[in-house]
Assembly symmetry: C2
Homo-oligomer: 213 residues x 2
Amino acid sequence: MQIAIPLYDRFTSLDAVGPYQVMTHLPGAQIIFCAERPRGVCDESATLTLAAEAAYADVPDPDIIIVPGGPGQAAQMTPGPLQDWLTEADKTTTWTTSVCTGSLILAAAGLLQGREATTYWMAHDELARLGAKPRNERYVFDGKYVTAAGVSAGIDMALALVSKIAGDEVAQQIQLGIEYDPHPPHDAGSPASAPPEMVAAFLARSRFTPAGA
Amino acid sequence: MQIAIPLYDRFTSLDAVGPYQVMTHLPGAQIIFCAERPRGVCDESATLTLAAEAAYADVPDPDIIIVPGGPGQAAQMTPGPLQDWLTEADKTTTWTTSVCTGSLILAAAGLLQGREATTYWMAHDELARLGAKPRNERYVFDGKYVTAAGVSAGIDMALALVSKIAGDEVAQQIQLGIEYDPHPPHDAGSPASAPPEMVAAFLARSRFTPAGA
């Protein structure tokens, strides 16, 4: 089972590595990080460089696609190598998935038209403008399309996807394997739980810029 | 504030990238992935390659060290470049930390002697043999030494560390920024919550090999 994770400049590293860490333990999985050409790809901070070992052309028909989000997503929503590859490769996938603002890239390719989906908490309006029906969930399944909320939500989505593919027991084994028994020191991980003034302040200083803005 | 994350062959990617994703948003933080020499370092699956941009010699006195774990940890517990660097660099750190079996590397360097610490759930006995006092916690602070449980626990530890360094509000803002509102689809992330037969089966087929085994 071939799983392609496309990388692009200024992706968010945990968006890619969270699901990777789960899926790499799925029996029979072969994961390939890819880009328009094989190269090291810098994340949003230009501090972390992850190797894309394959070109998109080398991975024409993956079984699963996982598109990460990140500040660089806006540049991937217009015609170009990622949109071209995604449009073609999606035709034969079993699952096409995204994390965070990766869903905006899927939506820009027309893949989420009329579908229920989720995205980063600040990007729900943008996702609606692109034709999807945003849901305030940790992850959303709609047919073969699976979208996760922001950044860390890719871990939850990947475990749910493993459950669908290989059964709950395999998902639970992987969860135990990565000791995913989360205990954040605070309860501020969503706009519903964070203090309202913090949500407002965060929005005011955020670097997130929807493609249409 | 310089934060060094040493990489070695067969590290576990989420051990490194989880805390990275949190700490990269800490105001004033400069994160450096390092190795015995600058190179791409392969993770446990030999599928993910993360760039170590610096040599250990280039990062002699970081403020914070975060040592990831992974199957490759055993090879880092004997005299060599990582142990040498760790022993010297630790003398001037503000915080010396680890994720998962990274604590075994700290313990092998003598840094956890008599200290409370934690590690991957399967490695508590090994940690005790190395002179630490294992605690069954998500993360443990003992002086400037902070250790996290397995893999995903590095995210929780990093948020707790940000609270200590910059205050709860900054930690909460980062948590909101990475939408860390975890909702695993199952409750199997610790040996206490997973079905006992699954824990036993997992142990039987595990590739985890303590250095002393």
